[in-house]
């Protein structure tokens, strides 16, 4: 039992880092633009499929494909923002919340079905030569691919943190999150900040997608699944706190593993969702964390 728990803990942490990465993109977009992009999971899925194609068609190593994925998702994000989301920025709050939710929902629906057309409903995974390799420490298996993914996730999160903390643009983003009108008075072009946050969110989703594809699998219906994961972690970690989001992701990953071992593998998904509902009820304003990441 102890061995199973230890293994579960490790797997939970490995997947939890990806949950954190997935959530951070969502959190960035929500914090800045106040839209809840429910198609975030579908963007993640596309990142995964993009890497899949690069691997199967062009033999590109999945980890090496990350920059290309980022580019691809930046473009998709740009397209989505310019064509769709930018039109809703000026709406009054209630309408903005509702319409962006609906449009995101529509986008997710379309992306999911496009994926279905292009890749069928089968699970796809990226299996490079080193896929099965793992090192074992004290009887616990550490698959290299997942460990590498964790490292990469951390790197991106750290880079994002640095960007937000140290660069002028990053500070402009943080200012916009806090008070967009005051930011405007500083000469910050809030629309550009919105666009930047949106495409960065998409790019981060893409990276997470690649890591999911190589360590696990991708299939068209995973979008909603990952959007929910992102939402859960965002709610737990607080918008605006990168460390909080990472910790939230790790906690979710471990909680899921624990549930799978102690109760049943089938209820793994339910744990997160229940936590989510509870947090929503207990802290309905909890999505607007004030701490700076």
């Amino acid at each position: 039992m102890l061995a199973a728990l230890a293994q579960g803990l490790v797997f939970g942490i490995l997947v939890g880092a990806l949950y954190g990465l997935a959530a951070v993109g969502l959190s960035l977009v929500f914090g800045v633009t106040k839209f809840l992009n429910v198609a975030h999971g579908e963007l993640l899925m596309f990142g995964g499929y993009a890497s899949f194609w690069l691997f199967t068609l062009l033999d590109v190593d999945p980890f090496a494909s990350i920059p290309l994925c980022i580019l691809f998702l930046l473009l998709i994000g740009l397209l989505l923002y310019k064509v769709l989301f930018s039109r809703m920025v000026k709406l009054p709050t209630e309408d903005k919340i509702r319409n962006t939710l609906l449009v995101g929902f529509g986008v997710g629906l379309i992306l999911q079905n496009v994926a279905l057309r292009l890749w069928t409903a089968d699970d796809r995974g990226i299996t490079p030569d080193y896929a099965g390799v793992a090192f074992t420490v004290l009887g616990v298996r550490f698959p290299i691919v997942r460990v590498a993914s964790l490292v990469i996730a951390f790197v991106f999160l750290f880079a994002l943190q640095l960007f937000l903390r140290r660069t002028y643009t990053g500070k402009a983003i943080r200012a916009t999150v806090e008070d967009w009108e005051a930011a405007t008075l500083m000469g910050i072009n809030v629309h550009r900040v919105y666009l930047l946050a949106f495409v960065m969110g998409a790019a981060l989703a893409g990276v997470a997608g690649t890591l999911v594809a190589v360590g696990y699998s991708v299939e068209p219906a995973m979008g909603m699944h990952w959007t929910l994961k992102g939402l859960i972690v965002m709610v737990m970690g607080g918008v605006g706190s990168i460390t909080g989001t990472l910790v939230g992701g790790l906690i979710l990953g471990v909680a899921e593993s624990a549930t799978a071992i102690l109760i049943s593998g089938n209820y793994r998904q339910v744990v997160g969702l229940v936590i989510f509902i509870l947090v929503l009820l207990v802290r309905p304003q909890g999505l607007l964390g004030t701490k700076e990441g």
Partner: protein, 321 residues
């Protein structure tokens, strides 16, 4: 009574009578099945519309109500309970669940999107749980399958669909209905006018859930076999939203139009191009949200307006000065 009203009622009567005669006139089973599907979708979209279109609370987990309806009705019916109590039970179970989440959710005045993603999560919880607890296929009782009378079921489901639309209509025209629409327009303004937003949202939720559960019951009565958790899949949450919007949310006829359009489009596309209906519908949905919030109903209104203007122009273009 205005001319418009008389025409509407006449059309309605003609329509219902026509539908009633279909089984006797039409040979093909596939058309009957198609119509039944339209009826069920109409119920689904109409029920969603009460909470989403009229009261402005976007529920992306309507499958929870639909699914619970199918579950309750199916379980009771296959155990030998008579049809109508089983159907009723479907609605009731859905409402009970709805109240369980609706009361805390609305009481806390959750922001619109928190309610929506909450419904997403809840529907997902039900989907996974039902899939775990009942991971099997449910079959109609043998006698039912052997004596399956499509026509009879057609009439029952047609009646249920008309009932749903009727209830929606009455609710919307009533005073509480007015309150719901006020809440959608501007919750704070409504409150200041004495409209208790919480109660109205809860009422809308109750009706939405009940009728959604009823739609589920209809499905459970109609479909010979399916996996228990199939009716909880997100697709049953997606469809009513897109249908209601494309057809015209916030109207009675909108969801009906949306349902018809959806099913017909799907059939046409599948036969000619392939399974693209969701992509097409998704695109239409986005276009409606961004540019034409009234959906097809609005399109129709605009056409009518344009048409009714022309004769007047002709009159006044004759110089009278």
């Amino acid at each position: 009574m205005t001319v418009k009203k008389i025409i509407s009622i006449a059309l309605l009567v003609v329509g219902v009578v026509a539908l009633a005669f279909v089984p006797t006139v039409v040979e093909s089973d596939s058309i009957i099945n198609l119509l039944i599907l339209i009826f069920i979708y109409t119920m689904l979209a109409s029920s969603w519309n009460i909470l989403g279109g009229y009261t402005g609370q976007i529920n992306l987990g309507h499958a929870a109500f639909f699914g619970l309806g199918t579950l309750a009705t199916r379980l009771l019916y296959t155990q030998g309970f008579p049809l109508f109590p089983s159907l009723l039970a479907g609605g009731v179970v859905a409402v009970a669940f709805a109240m369980f989440i609706g009361i805390p959710a609305f009481r806390l005045r959750l922001r619109g999107d928190y309610f929506t993603i909450g419904t997403l999560a809840l529907a997902q919880i039900l989907y996974v749980t039902v899939g775990n607890v009942l991971p099997k296929i449910t079959y109609l009782p043998i006698e039912d399958i052997q004596n399956y009378q499509l026509d009879f079921r057609y009439y029952i489901i047609l009646a249920l669909a008309l009932f749903t639309i009727g209830v929606a209509y009455v609710l919307v025209k009533s005073r509480p209905g007015l309150g719901m629409m006020a809440v959608k327009e501007d919750e704070d303004a409504a409150e200041s006018l004495g409209v208790n937003a919480f109660r109205h949202k809860l009422l809308a939720l109750a009706f939405s859930a009940f009728l959604g559960g009823l739609a589920g019951g209809a499905y459970a009565y109609y479909q010979t076999s399916y996996y228990f958790n199939y009716t909880f899949t997100p697709l049953w949450s997606l469809d009513p939203v897109t249908m209601a919007f494309v057809g015209g949310q916030g109207t009675i006829i909108g969801p009906v139009i949306g349902a018809v359009f959806f099913v017909v489009l799907k059939e046409w596309l599948v036969l000619n191009v392939g399974e693209y209906h969701l992509i097409v519908f998704g695109t239409l949905f986005i276009l409606v949200v961004l540019f034409l919030p009234g959906g097809l109903v609005e399109v129709w209104e605009k056409i009518r307006e344009a048409l009714s203007r022309r004769p007047k122009l002709k009159e006044s273009s004759t110089p009278s000065e």
